[in-house]
């Protein structure tokens, strides 16, 4: 695997939209060619070389390419956007749209990432050692097809509207989460190790939420069904299971309705 290291040399006045910061866009390109790729700042088009130092040539394919981003990239958007394979390591923070529409490969962010990360993600893995913003793994605005596969692990906290319209895949949140988790979900799984605020699984018809901490306000559309002993994300515990959202239509299997399930640790 070839490694391309991109180090930020100059902070932009506005924000950089770097749609080319993904193994797919870099594959087959030399360091020189990469520094000539376009990036967008406001309404102007500039090149990677204007703001970054590029070191190393990319592999022949995305799968053979590892991209390491160094320096303070908290004003850089679209890192790992639409990637299908390969690896991206972000050493600092990143702005919006990290790994959106990602279908494969791995992104590791050592700092925080911005809003709208992993929009409609369908595969691959994202690990965030810091916090993630709002709309993590949500669907694109207006769309009813959200995250469908892959895994996201956030060690820190996550903002609001996480996993809206999720249909598959898994999200593990090490810290706390803001309001609206798995709204409109039709599948998928979110594990929250910290605390939640309110509106867990609103309008969800399928899917699972596991909550280890507390919830400020419980959804009125969820009804208690039973207690179960489970091992979740390496921890064995007793959970109270709630079925919901009872205000929604639910698919049936063998005549029995399938509900979204809310597991609250006892």
């Amino acid at each position: 695997m070839n490694t391309v290291t991109i180090t930020i040399t100059k902070q932009p006045e506005l924000f950089i939209e770097a749609e080319c910061f993904s193994p797919d866009a870099l594959a087959g390109k030399s360091a020189d060619a990469i520094s000539k790729l376009p990036i967008y700042i406001g309404k102007t088009t500039e090149t990677v070389g204007d703001y970054f130092a590029v070191d190393g040539n990319a592999g022949a394919t995305a799968a053979e390419t590892k991209l390491v981003i160094k320096g303070d990239t908290s004003r850089v958007k679209y890192i790992g956007s639409k990637m299908t394979a390969g690896e991206v390591v972000i050493n600092g923070n990143a702005d919006m749209y990290v790994g959106n529409f990602m279908s494969g490969g791995k992104i590791t962010a050592k700092g925080n990432i911005g809003h709208f990360a992993a929009t409609s993600m369908s595969g691959g893995e994202i690990i965030v050692e810091g916090n993630a913003g709002n709309y993590l793994a949500a669907s694109y605005r207006g769309d009813w097809r959200g995250m469908s596969g892959g895994k996201i692990t956030v060690l820190g906290n996550v903002g609001s509207d996480c996993a809206t319209f999720i249909t598959g895949g898994e999200i593990v949140i090490g810290g706390n989460v803001d309001v609206h988790v798995m709204t409109h979900a039709d599948g998928g799984k979110v594990i929250i190790k910290g605390n939640a605020k309110s509106r867990l699984g609103g309008q969800a018809s399928r899917g699972e939420i596991y909550l280890f901490g507390t919830v400020d306000v419980m959804m009125p559309g969820y009804a208690y069904s039973e207690d179960v002993e489970l091992e979740v994300a390496g921890t064995k515990a007793k959970f109270a299971v709630y079925n919901g959202d009872l205000g929604e239509r639910h698919p049936t299997r063998k005549g029995q309705p399938i509900y979204a399930k809310l597991y609250l640790k006892k």
Binding site: S139, Y140, R141, G142, D143, W144
Partner: protein
């Protein structure tokens, strides 16, 4: 003005019976003439197909519901990347509900020059006209909706046909409308009571009138007003299994009615998106095509025209004045839904829809459209539309042409369907080996539609004296035969487009935003004090706007208004 000579193209013009002869077309002062001077600009169309500019009889491209579609489907923009401004082109984007600019540019690429907005809620006529004004290049017009209007329901119930006609004339003048559109007659109004009209005999609550009386009343009013276009019907019970009986009942209402107009129009009823109205079976499980039955009836009855509404198997946005249908649809596909009740006039709804070739119902819908078009005996009376964007975006017209002109491409698609056998079983499409000719396509897309709209003396053909709307396609009928991919590419990429004698597309590049005009019809009727009083009472009692704020003023809302004056005083 400039002179243009389009040389050596293969000309297809059903209005003159020209079937691909090599001919020169001369243009002077915006009209087609028999010859021009030697200083004329020469367009070399050697090896290319030349047709009149396309005329779309039914499409949803402007107005309140189109804009709601744009607003509530941000994800629609993901299907087509925004194109930046370039030359005379503005920035454009959107897929099934494109911006007004993209609408114009894409129609131009398809060689279309005249496009009719099929459903204008009268109360939102100002919005519709503002969007048409901002749509460059295309000549446009809009049909206001009458089928659920309280005035109409009252007048027709009481058999006050003179009052009905006078009201229609007033509304066409106020909203700068072109003709009479009737969507789910009575049904949208009935929905206000939680009901619908699924047959032509279901009474509308409170008004106690049936769809049959509404359709018949509107057809007769249309003929008494001598309008250029006929009554334009979207019948009851759209999109439901077994609805073909309702469709046949609706069509039969036109039996024996004779047309009366000075515009060369021969039909008294245009039934739109007939594909959605030709379903058999009782549920989605035994859903099947009744296209042959409906088309057989249309073939035999010369006073009816139809457009098909081909399903193109895309992800699209459905939008119609048929409010109850959209509510029904959102219950079927569980996607988001928008709805409006337009005061005393009509209603509308919007729901996104994914026509997948792997869902057998969609496959059958696709088959029914093609089956009907291939069984039609007179393509001057059977037009090509996708009911844009309901059955698919208009940008797919070239693909529909490919399917119509090439059996192999139909078979190839059928072959990739997940439920191939079931789809083949539910319609007769796979047994039809007919392939339409370019001459028939020209009937379906310009000559036939222009005639049905009463515009045959202006557009849809290449005869001397007609408006110089001419499209040149990169398709050589001698060497390209019916090459499927060539058809789809060529008819979506006009090399030259002339409109009103002005070059819009030159060498495949849009070079001008043209000088669009907006058609509307001004009918003079005998003075009618009763109707004047009713209108003023309705505005006082029910409307949220005043009459002054309702009127579409030409100078403020329209670009190049073009009035067709009709004298219906008898």
């Amino acid at each position: 003005m400039t002179e243009i000579l389009i040389k050596n193209g293969f000309v297809f013009d059903p209005t003159q019976g020209i079937k691909g002869d090599k001919k020169d077309i001369a243009v002077k002062d915006g009209k087609i003439v028999d010859k021009v001077s030697s200083s004329a600009k020469v367009i070399d169309a050697t090896g290319m197909t030349v047709m009149a500019g396309g005329v779309d009889i039914h499409t949803h491209v402007a107005g309140a519901k189109v804009n709601v579609g744009r607003n509530f489907r941000p994800e629609d923009k993901l299907q087509a990347v925004y194109e930046p401004a370039r030359g005379v082109r503005h920035m454009s984007g959107g897929y099934s509900v494109p911006t007004v600019f993209k609408t114009a540019y894409k129609y131009a690429d398809l060689g279309y020059t005249t496009v009719f907005e099929a459903a204008m809620p009268p109360l939102y006529a100002r919005h519709t006209h503002e969007e048409m004004r901002d749509t460059p290049i295309l000549d446009q017009g809009a049909f206001p909706m009458f089928g659920n209007n309280w005035f109409m329901l009252d007048y027709l119930k009481n058999q006050e046909y003179d009052n009905a006609a006078a009201y229609i004339a007033w509304l066409l003048r106020s909203t700068k409308g072109y003709g009479i559109k009737c969507v789910n007659p009575g049904g949208t109004e009935a929905w206000g009571w939680g009901l619908n009209c699924l047959t032509v005999n279901d009474p509308v609550p409170y008004f106690e009138i049936t769809p049959r009386e509404i359709i018949s009343g509107l057809i007769n009013a249309n003929e008494s007003l001598l309008l250029p276009h006929s009554m334009h019907l979207h019948g009851n019970n759209l999109g439901n299994p077994g609805n073909y009986t309702t469709t046949l009942d609706s069509l039969k209402i036109a039996e024996g009615v004779k047309t009366d107009n000075k515009f060369g129009r021969e039909q008294v009823l245009h039934h739109t998106h007939i594909q959605f109205h030709s379903y058999g079976g009782t549920t989605w499980a035994d859903f099947e095509s009744k296209g042959p039955e409906v088309m057989d009836y249309i073939n035999k009855n010369k006073n009816i025209t139809c457009d098909i509404g081909f399903v193109t198997l895309d992800e699209t946005t459905t939008m119609t004045g048929d409010g109850p249908f959209e509510h029904h649809l959102t219950a079927l596909n569980h996607l988001k839904w928008a709805n409006t009740d337009v005061e005393v006039e009509c209603g509308s709804g919007i729901v996104p829809y994914v026509y997948s070739k792997d869902v057998y119902v969609c496959g059958v819908q696709w088959s029914i459209g093609l089956e009907m078009a291939l069984l039609a005996k007179d393509h001057m009376r059977c037009h090509l539309t996708t009911d844009h964007p309901n059955a698919g975006p208009f940008t797919r017209y070239p693909r529909v042409m490919k399917w119509l002109m090439n059996q192999e491409s139909r078979e190839a698609l059928l072959h990739t369907m997940k439920n191939e056998d079931k789809v083949r079983d539910r319609s007769s499409l796979s047994s039809i080996d007919r392939e339409l000719t370019l001459y028939e396509i020209a009937m379906m897309t310009r000559a036939g539609t222009a005639k049905a709209l009463g515009l045959a003396d202006r557009c849809g053909g290449l005869g001397i004296g007609l408006q110089a709307d001419i499209a040149v396609y990169p398709f050589n009928p001698e060497t390209d035969g019916n090459d499927a991919e060539k058809i789809e590419w060529a008819f979506g990429n006009a090399v030259y487009l002339v409109k009103d004698g002005q070059i819009i597309i030159n060498d495949s590049e849009i070079v001008s935003n043209g000088n669009k005009k907006t058609y509307w019809v001004d009918v003079t009727t005998n003075p009618n004090k009763q109707v004047e009083r009713d209108i003023s009472e309705m505005f006082t009692k029910y409307y949220t706007v005043t009459e002054k704020n309702y009127d579409v003023e030409e100078h403020a809302f329209m670009k190049n208004p073009f009035v067709i004056k009709v004298d219906a005083t008898q």
